[in-house]
Symmetry: none
Subunit: 224 residues, 2 copies
DNA sequence: TGGATTCTTAAGTTATTCTAAAGTATAGCT
DNA sequence: AGCTATACTTTAGAATAACTTAAGAATCCA
């Protein structure tokens, strides 16, 4: 999962990022309105944690923009003051949940989990694609109900493919999503070949091929 | 958003229209097969609410037609009886969701929202030119719904042609666009002939020629 | 520390892109 | 109209860039 943490209090930002990175998530951060706005426009996130009171602009504006762009990220609002109005307005604008400062990281985490559960995947913890099933809670995969042992990166890659099925994903996009933009790997995408190869080997189901090469542009996930 | 409500029960039609108009949507209505068919042909809608059991014809036929015309409206089927077959057939034909009479308007509304969310409407993913369709996300091309395997350059070239249809494009312009101005190929455009040739071969559809030579000045993309 | 995972490297394979060359059409000129 | 220079078409194959795959090194994590 890829998160954006839009929060201007540096230490809070950092502690959230550290906490959420624990279970293999990619956390990117934005420290002001402008940075957040830019990142939201450029990249896709599964979860956006959005402080309403950014110094340089309103988080609500960002939320509005996000929804206008039809991005389907789950949004959790952080509000400093206890202003009910802010929260309500946030929820109206399409935020999925809110949390009030100060809060425990564990609570934030469980709210995130809840949003993910409710969210894009129709309240189901499983995602299906033909013979493939992903259990998003256990981070485990099945082909024809037979469990497939995937490593973390393989699971993330498969999830990314399935949630973007049919679409050509360039190596750059894949790298961006699985490794984040601050990674120092991103000048050489060759290692992606390796992950593609490994995932292909594990997915191959009676000769069915899911990951199709779009020569020169990337890969796309289809049902043969 | 613009909706079409194809429903012959006048009072239901009206209450749906009233309800959906609440948040600034345009609702048009059709009370029989013929009217619905005509409106679907003439206009574009984001959402079509389609009663399967129209008195004067089958909603499934309408759905079929709609999909043949490559209209990308989201379709929600209303079925009176609980016939599972109707629903399944509807979904097979490309409906996005269904709802069974009687239903609460709020439920219809939330299904519409879900369809809109899933479908990313407004994010125009396909480009059409007569028999040709380009799926810009999948970077794939179709002629009369038959997939055409294109290489990267061929796809880029076709996309460039379609988005500049009718205009004469010089080899310099094409090269500039497909290869960028920093390329060292740009003192000799001969290789463009090859790409044009390859693309022509792949596009030729029952003798129809799309790429017309403008002798001495370039090429122009037209519908025969 | 030891085992699993992830990344690096490199050799082998394939698809695509470009070059070259021979044939065909077009426009302009006398 | 006929000739010529130039522009375009087409094909085949060479060169290149992109991908696959395997094996080993580095890293991470329990």
């Amino acid at each position: 999962m890829k998160y954006l943490i839009a929060e201007d209090e540096k230490d809070l930002q950092k502690s959230i990022a550290t906490y959420l990175s624990q279970d293999a998530n990619i956390c990117e951060t934005a420290s002001d309105y402008h940075e957040a706005s830019e990142k939201l426009e450029l990249y896709d996130y599964e979860i956006v944690i959005l402080d309403i009171n950014l110094i340089t602009g309103s988080g609500l504006d960002l939320l509005k923009k996000l929804k206008q762009q039809h991005k389907k990220a789950g949004v959790i609002i952080i509000s400093a003051n206890n202003s009910l109005e802010d929260k309500l307005q946030g929820l109206d604008l399409g935020a999925d949940d809110y949390i009030t400062k100060p809060f425990h990281l564990a609570e934030l985490n469980s709210r995130i989990k809840a949003v993910l559960r409710r969210g894009q995947f129709g309240g189901d913890d499983s995602i299906y694609f033909h013979e493939i099933k992903l259990d998003t809670l256990a981070r485990s995969a099945y082909v024809n109900d037979m469990p497939i042992a995937l490593t973390r990166k393989e699971y993330d890659l498969l999830l990314f493919f399935i949630t973007n099925q049919g679409r050509v994903l360039s190596k750059a996009i894949i790298a961006e999503h699985l490794w984040g933009d601050d990674s120092d790997l991103l000048d050489n995408f060759d290692f992606i070949y390796v992950h593609i190869n490994n995932l292909r080997k594990k997915l191959t189901n009676e000769g069915a091929k899911y990951i199709q090469t779009a020569y020169g542009s990337g890969y796309k996930f289809i049902a043969d």
